[in-house]
Amino acid sequence: MSISVQNISKQFGDFVALDDVSLEVPTGSLVALLGPSGSGKSTLLRIIAGLEQGDTGTISIADEDVTATAPQKRGIGFVFQHYAAFKHMTVHDNIAFGLTIRRRPRAEIRERVAQLLELVQLEGLAKRYPSQLSGGQRQRMGLARALAVDPKVLLLDEPFGALDARVRKELRVWLRRLHDETHTTTVIVTHDQEEAMEVAETVAVMNHGRIEQVADPIELYERPANEFVMGFVGAVNRLGDAFVRPHDLEVTLEPNGSTKEAMIVRLVNLGFDVRLELVRDDGEQLAAQMTREQAESLELGPGQIVYVRPTRQTTFAP
């Protein structure tokens, strides 16, 4: 069940939310729409869902043009950032909703809900109300609810945005596993690059209503299409025209040809890695990253003068 977005544009008054956006989502894939707030990613997702209408362009789901179709008839599953739980219904009734309104027999509904409760690991909570669940549980319920009607495509709008860090990480792993099991075509919107890289096979980076690059995570990291993508997908140093990743900034104690002088302002312990916050005498700030072992072997400390040089760099054509 592929999704095909062709030349979608959308404006809210003077604000251009989407500018001639096109995207192909192959059947069974998991694609992330990654970008900062205001980049248009949520708007695009909602237009795919039919919750909003694009000004121009078409949307096709499973090779069928659904641009003029109501969201009810598109066969989508939608998961909201703030869960949109039916607060007056139990967990069971929430998940069963899609089937209930399609008038499926009660036994069938009960069975399906039980299956889904197991899938999302909420067994035993069927009779609770959403207000009695944690955020993570509510979102899993939201997912189960969306999956209950066997949607052709699954659309997730910043699904883990309202949860705290640890739960977010757990659910990311869990979502990936779920996808590997069900193979439902999925599009996830997120502003968290770590999340996108971890969960999706393909990432579409968006900015100011345009898609900057569509590629797998490695390609995005290694061969970013432009400055924006490079900076959004990971930390980056700017040395003149060149862009250097902190890992690719070599730190030595002695000057050596093309090295530049810098002073260590701070060492930040990131567990396995150490980040060095450096400053040059013209005030320019740099960041280098290495393993703790390496930092210790060089006996680095704050206030120390060191010499840096990029081992790899990227430049972009003007």
Binding site: A49, L51, A70, P71, Q72, K73, I76, G77, F78, F80, H82, A84, A85, F86, K87, H88, F97, G98, I101, R102, Y129, S131, Q132, G142, R145, A146, A148, V149
Partner: protein, 250 residues
């Protein structure tokens, strides 16, 4: 300071203990009370339905003059009841311009001395209640729930029935009960327009009014019935408040 009045007056209405039951069960009193309850219920229910629709339009719809409409709805709250009665009389009274007298059709929208007058007057004074209790609830309603329902395949009517209605029901009910209480006690707007014909258009409050000087004990008896209704209504509203928040306290 008002406390003594409420408490003492209440006790003092029980002065004519034995007389009480006689008055209550007198045919005229019974008729008045029955009429009051029936009309109040009818008006309250009508305004519950129409009020919900109005609240919906005010919250979800947008058109020029909406804010004026919103303000106009409070008119029955601000207008003296006796004026309300006269206002209705102007259009639906003896000299109503709404009449057809041609082609074998004789129709005159004159409701004086009829039960319609009571109904219309009560509709007028209870108009704002349900609207004002439903508006904030509707406003607060999480629109995403409705979007979720749509994404799961629910059409607009289904969404309204299964998602919106259950959530605004407490609001509707509390407005309904307040409207009912108000309608039971209403006197100013009905006293002129209905003619207060015993057994036909005399409501309980007018019964009390007319006997307040001549037969205070009798009037008191019926008052106590009205008082009981008021207390019952307050209890119901309190109960509704707790029921409405049960999902949050669960």
């Amino acid at each position: 300071m008002a406390l003594p009045i409420a408490a003492l007056a209440w006790r003092s209405t029980q002065k004519g203990g034995a007389n009480f039951w006689d008055v209550i069960s007198s045919p005229e009193a019974v008729a008045a009370l029955k009429l009051t309850l029936a009309m109040a219920a009818l008006a309250a229910l009508t305004n519950a339905v129409l009020g919900t629709v109005t609240a919906w339009v005010l919250v979800r719809d947008d058109f020029r003059g909406k804010s004026i409409l919103n303000a106009v709805i409070d008119l029955p709250f601000a207008l003296p009841t006796i004026v309300a009665g006269l206002v209705l009389l102007a259009l639906y009274g003896i000299k109503t311009p709404l009449k057809v007298d041609a082609g074998g059709v004789h129709f005159k929208a004159d409701i004086t001395f009829t039960r319609w007058a009571i109904f219309m007057a009560l509709l007028f004074v209870t108009l704002p209640f349900v609207i004002r209790t439903v508006q904030p609830v509707l406003h607060e309603l999480d629109r995403e729930m409705e979007e979720a329902a749509a994404s799961l395949g629910a059409g607009s009517f289904t969404t309204f029935r299964r998602i919106v209605l259950p959530n605004i029901l407490p609001g509707i009910l509390s407005g309904l009960t307040m409207a009912f209480a108000r309608a039971c006690g209403e006197v100013g707007s009905v006293v002129l327009i209905t003619g207060n014909l015993p057994f036909k258009t005399e409501v309980a409050s007018v019964f009390v009014l007319q006997r307040s000087a001549s037969d205070p004990i009798g009037a008191a008896a019926v008052s106590v019935v009205l008082l009981t209704i008021s207390f019952a209504v307050l209890l119901v509203i309190g109960g509704l408040r707790r029921w409405a928040t049960r999902h949050e306290r669960a």
